[in-house]
């Protein structure tokens, strides 16, 4: 069967089971777009290529499949860059297809020519430049394979216009994948498994550190089994959230910079840390030299480059987490850590006094109220997609997610503007689920144009803007560390109700806690995408906070309201 390169692109996507592609056409990608007419793949027209990248990312995270984004040469390709880097930092499998100018024009500064493989080299797991139609099929096959295997990540394939236009006899099975330098899978040796088991059996104060790898390896069952059998509490990284049920008694919650006091105390006091698919990011460890100094550390990760990168460990098990845990579970005996768990629970008790959601309604609307009520109303079952900043941390703290892959956020790169497009992508990934995007007034405006995409697609995504009139997280740092000298953080926003209205969507505004529930319920019942402008406390901060370079126990705590302070003081003395 003789096909053009453009047709082969779609043939390959179809073969990979791709159902939806997020993209934006242009001069160099005209052949690909023309060929799209003949294929049953849904194309979502975005408003900016960054949106396409985040949508493909959100889709991949929500569905567990490989996301696909498509952009033209030059500016189309460069607009993807932030989204590619976001996917890279969080190890999300996305295949980016970019069009390139005619192969004869490469290197001549042609119209809309840019060296996209050069630009994206450090932010992709791998990338390709295809200049010959005969290379398209096997390159795309390799791209999908590399993206989803081992430690997943983004792969970019840049295809010249002539490669798209030329024809060739297409045989899908012509060339098998041959990557002699790529060995994505490994399994730890039995000897090391035994060492791990011995360390686990002798631990008195163990803590599991569950990362994104739990979700990506699909090791939720094994982690649960391990935690329950050994009675080990589970702390989660930001991206590890939803890998272990938040409602489980052994769940501690999020660790690190904005982790609750008991979580970070437990880590610092532990005698054994079991790092499951996480990478000891600086936001997780605080001062590395003073990080969990009493604990021996077992690190299970599929990427050998993560071993001893940030934190030196006592035992490294390089391999797929779910398979490795399966091996370990064959030998691990049931254990009890009653005293240890009791001491952590005791800490929980005193910390929750400061919890904002337990404060009496004093007429102020706090972001924590919004998230907590949303969690209650949706019974914790919504797919939650956050933006970056305070909104992200509050959501991580107050939306207690039980369902795997239903907490989606930009962790490593911390990309503002991620929320809305990733939420749209997540809706395509889990179309039957209720999707909520939680963002700030700043991040929402970065990719607000994608509201038009949601409207054109007729999909339903509920958007909660936690509007405090500031770039809140930066403001918070200016408050804590720059003497409240607010520089370029106060932000005036447009009328979000009118913005929604202009897109033919529903907009609402909430200013008191009493109205939160009605608004959320109305949003759920309204057809189409809904924007709720929650006017929250302007200068509220995310607590607790471990300042950079501090040890995990050195936290800035929420100032106590006078009435509670008295009780607390009494407690402390006692």
């Amino acid at each position: 069967m003789k096909l053009t390169g453009a047709q082969i692109v779609w043939e390959c996507l179809q073969r990979e089971g791709v159902e939806v592609v997020f993209g934006y056409p242009g001069g160099a990608s005209l052949p690909i777009y023309d060929a799209l007419h003949d294929y049953n793949i849904h194309h979502v027209l975005v408003r900016h290529e960054q949106g396409a990248a985040h949508m493909a990312d959100g889709y991949a995270r929500a569905s567990g499949k490989v996301g696909v984004a498509l952009a033209t040469s030059g500016p189309g390709a460069t607009n993807l860059v932030t989204g590619i880097a976001t996917a890279m930092m969080d190890s999300v499998p996305v295949v980016f297809i970019t069009a390139q100018v005619h192969s004869k024009l490469i290197g001549y500064d042609a119209f809309q020519e840019v060296d996209v493989t050069g630009i994206t080299l450090p932010i992709t797991k791998h990338n390709y430049l295809v200049t010959d139609v005969k290379d398209i099929a096997h390159t795309l096959r390799e791209a999908f394979y590399i993206a989803r295997t081992g430690r997943p990540g983004p792969v970019l394939v840049d295809i010249t216009k002539d490669a798209q236009q030329n024809s060739i006899e297409y045989d899908p099975d012509s060339e098998p994948i041959h990557l002699r330098g790529y060995r994505p899978t490994a399994l730890p040796v039995e000897d090391d498994i035994q060492k791990a088991v011995t360390m686990i059996h002798s631990a008195k104060r163990p803590v599991i550190l569950a990362g994104h790898g739990v979700l990506q390896s699909g090791a939720m069952k094994e982690v649960l089994e391990f935690a329950e059998r050994t009675q080990t509490p589970v702390a989660m990284t930001l991206l590890g959230i939803s890998g272990f049920p938040a409602s489980h008694p052994l769940n501690l919650g999020m660790m690190g910079m904005h982790g609750e006091a008991w979580v970070n105390h437990a880590i610092q006091d532990a005698d054994l840390l079991l790092a499951f698919g996480m990478r000891f990011d600086d936001r997780v460890t605080g001062d590395v030299r003073r990080y969990a100094t009493h604990a021996r550390k077992i690190h299970i990760d599929i990427d050998p480059a993560e071993i001893n990168k940030n934190v030196r460990v006592d035992l490294a098990l390089v391999g797929d987490l779910s398979q490795t845990l399966e091996q370990i579970l064959k030998h691990v005996k049931p254990g009890r850590h009653d005293e240890w768990l009791a001491s952590i629970n005791e800490m929980k008790g005193s910390s929750s006094v400061r919890d904002i959601q337990n404060l009496p309604d004093n007429g102020h609307l706090y972001a924590a109220h919004v998230i907590n009520d949303l969690w209650n109303i949706t019974k914790g079952n919504a797919v939650i997609v956050t933006d970056v900043g305070q909104n992200q941390m509050w959501t991580a703290q107050y939306y207690r997610q039980d369902n795997p892959s239903q907490f989606i956020t930009s962790g490593g790169l911390g990309t503002m503007g991620f929320g809305l497009p990733a939420g749209i992508g997540a809706k395509f990934g889990q179309p039957d689920k209720e999707v909520w995007v939680i963002c700030g007034d700043g991040g929402f405006q970065m990719t607000q144009a994608e509201l038009a995409t949601a409207a054109q697609e007729g999909i339903k995504v509920n958007i909660a803007i936690l509007n405090n009139g500031y770039l809140g997280m930066v403001r918070q740092w200016q408050e804590f560390f720059y003497d409240r000298r607010y520089s370029a953080t106060p932000m005036k926003s447009p009328d979000f109700i009118k913005i929604a209205d202009a897109h033919g969507l529903t907009g609402m505004r909430v200013t008191t806690r009493a109205d939160v529930e009605t608004a959320i319920q109305t949003a759920r019942e309204t057809e189409g995408t809904v924007v709720i402008d929650f006017r929250v406390e302007k200068e509220d901060s995310v607590y607790p906070m471990v300042p950079t370079g501090s040890e995990l126990k050195e936290m800035i705590r929420r100032p106590l309201p006078a009435a509670v302070a008295v009780n607390e003081a009494v407690k402390v003395e006692a």
Binding site: G118, L121, P122, K125, G181, A305, A316
Partner: protein
């Protein structure tokens, strides 16, 4: 200290860029780098000299393995090896000092490979120490221009480096933790 890393990589466009970019973005400084074909079609061999401590080198090697085009990486620093560098040196040579230069060339077992009215081009191979010594002797005479290949190494003995599969010594990674 200086480490000599040998990387076997796919012989495809852009692979040098991938490796060099990795060194740059992970903050490793390349002292010298030599690339060329190998006995295996489609495989290139890079010899990279990098100044770094032992722990960082293990980190570097595991980063290199993340590159899809990298087949195998070895640190040959402490292994018995034949080590060579090649230099071509254009040196001022007039009637007065020609004899002197020829003598030096003989002592260092270098070779004169080009002669003009006022210059020689001298070729020398050997380890860096020998070449450095040679250069120091020639310097007062007047070096016009010089080029060096950078270090290339081959481990002694019959066994080849190429193992046809990636080998990541995780135990080594773990014990390096200390």
């Amino acid at each position: 200290m200086n480490h000599t890393i040998v990387a076997l990589v796919d012989d495809v466009p852009g692979v040098l860029n991938r490796v060099a970019s990795l060194f740059r973005r992970r903050s490793f400084n390349i002292e010298s780098l030599a690339v060329g074909h190998t006995e295996n079609p489609g495989v290139s061999r890079m010899t990279i000299v990098v100044d770094s401590d032992d722990t960082s080198i293990l980190r570097l090697i595991s980063y290199l393995y993340k590159l899809v085009n990298v087949i195998q990486v070895e640190d040959l620093t402490t292994k018995p090896c034949v080590t060579r560098d090649l230099a071509l040196i254009k040196v001022k040579a007039d009637t007065e000092n020609r004899a002197q230069i020829t003598q030096i060339v003989d002592v260092f077992r270098a070779r004169i490979v080009d002669i003009s009215n006022s210059s020689f081009i001298v070729e020398i191979t050997g380890d860096e120490e020998k070449i450095e010594g040679f250069i120091e002797v020639l310097r007062p005479i007047g070096i016009i221009e010089m080029v060096r290949t950078g270090r290339v190494v081959l481990a002694r003995g019959a066994a080849p480096l190429y193992a046809s599969e990636k080998i990541i010594d995780t135990e080594k990674l773990a014990t390096a933790a200390g």
